[in-house]
């Protein structure tokens, strides 16, 4: 994507964001309201950017025909999603597989596999409404991966998972990242440290930092950011640098006027 710009009425959610993502697990880290969800929704072809260009899997998603082809190879877990009250886990995941236009013959096996990968095999015939919040989130992950997507977009996937489930989920993320471009938004720095091959820090609609988790940790150690672990220190240090640079830029603009 190049020069991506997203507006929410008057506020700018994303401003000239340039990102190039390949296979691997990309962590989107940033404070609440930084524009992570806007970025993911644009990538999921759910929302249109106000400006800029998004290319997914080599196709510009503004074209309707290309968009359909891209959507077949996409997996998306929204931050919040609903479900039909009567649906079981199996029906829910199979329904999304149907919406993704998977060949009908492949759907039952693909559903079994997706549900198994998120550790819900035993609850596959339970109604979604009887499941706990963490389990519903895992159902959401199952629907996202049911078509074995080439691009997987997960918005706060670890919210509501207990620590043990988070550990399992990170293992799944690492496995998925070997062949898929996974974009995970999170505000938990542990997720990034444990599962991501690359981390992108978003702050106030702009990219504040890009690098590998170890590099971010190193930055934290050298720049002496605040926090309980190296990544957290790196996070605060990078944010501080970015904010200082933004302030300086604003001041310069003021002087120029």
């Amino acid at each position: 994507m190049a020069g991506l710009r997203v507006r929410h009425r008057r506020t700018v959610a994303l401003d000239s964001v340039d990102l190039d993502l390949g296979p691997g697990v990309h962590g989107l880290l940033g404070p609440n309201g930084a524009g992570k969800t806007s970025l993911i929704r644009v990538l999921a072809t759910v929302a249109a950017p106000t400006g800029g260009r998004v290319e997914l899997l080599g196709d510009d998603v503004r074209d309707r025909r290309h968009r359909s082809a891209v959507r077949r190879r996409l997996g998306y877990l929204p931050q919040e999603f609903g479900y039909y009250p009567g649906f079981t886990v199996r029906e829910f995941v199979a329904y999304v597989a149907w919406l993704k236009e998977m060949p009908a013959a492949q759907v039952p096996a693909a559903v079994e596999r997706a549900v198994e990968r998120v550790g819900l095999a035993e609850r596959v015939d339970a109604k979604v409404k009887t499941l706990s919040g963490g389990m519903v989130r895992r159902v959401g992950i199952a629907q996202a991966i049911v078509n074995e997507p080439d691009v997987l977009l997960l918005d706060e996937p670890t919210a509501g998972l207990d620590p043990e489930q988070r550990v399992e989920f990170r293992a799944l993320l690492r496995e998925l990242g070997t062949a898929t471009t996974v974009v995970v938004s999170t505000h938990l720095v542990e997720d990034v440290a444990a599962a991501c091959t690359e981390v992108t820090l978003v702050e106030a609609g702009r990219i504040a930092y890009r690098g590998t988790p170890p590099a971010l940790a190193e930055l934290g150690e050298s720049a002496g950011g605040a926090g309980d672990n190296p990544i957290e220190r790196g996070y605060t240090a990078a944010l501080r640098t970015h904010r200082a640079a933004a302030l300086e830029e604003a001041a310069l603009e003021e002087v120029a006027r």
Partner: protein
Amino acid sequence: MTDWHATDPHADDRLHPTDPHAGDRPHSTDPHTPDPHAPDWHAPDDLAFRYADGSLPEADAWSLEKHLEHCTPCASRVSRAVRETAAGAVLAEVRQSVLRAAPKSARKPAPAPAPAPSPTPARAPAPRLARVLWAAGPALRGAWLSAVLIVAVGAVVLAYGAGYTGARPLLLAVAPVVPVIGVALSYGAYADPLHEITASTPSAGLRLVLVRAAAVLVVSLPLLTLAGVLVPSSGAPGAAAWLLPGLALTLASLALAGYVGCPAATAVTGGGWLCAVLAPALAAPGGRLTARLADQLATVLDGAPAQGAWAAAAVLSAVALAVRRPAYDHLGRP
């Protein structure tokens, strides 16, 4: 037995049926192996090994193969022997790649060669029925379906249970709005709890909207028309007179939704219809309200010109919808 000799007069003499007790020692390596065609004969290990390494004369190999067709113990013994040769590695590789390529469903029932079908397909949703229900979308699962049933059953109960004479006019006045509401509840962020996920799939857009609208019409048109047939006419138009207006209003809502969004569009078309029918009936002087409503409905619905106008409106709406199609492919607001 004779054809064993006949097929290969030069067969290894160990294969000749000279041992009368062979049946008692099925797995023996006795050199005097009996005829493979005898009912109790079994292939000895060295025969299996020679078959595996290819040193067995061709005719003997054929005979052994014939025997293997109906003897599982020997077949597994020979196959074990073959797996121990150089061919074994190749076979294992082939097996792996076949299993990798095979659909996972075919692999699942493998553990037991039971004749009973595996539980997996039985638990899977019946595909056709499931697909029809899926296509129907949220309206047919929720409150709208109950509303249709209440309107249809309510009209019949009013007419026969309460002896109310205005059931047909009332039903005809309400019926065209029912599919419009159904369509409004079928698609979009405010109506479909799954919309955020749906919007990221290739199904999103006008096609899914139309499929769901069709499901809404398929349910509401026959139900409400049947209810109309069952209640006495009380001077109102025929029970089927609302079908074209219902279709036209539904299509008009969809076309208009491309400009102003679905909630506003359905409010305009549904509200417009109710105003056009109820307001003159309320304003008209004299007579009972139901009689005035029946008169107004007759004006709007009865006769070829009125029905023709509704048909034309339906066609125009369909054209407008086709023109406005790109609106359904637009991405949502951020």
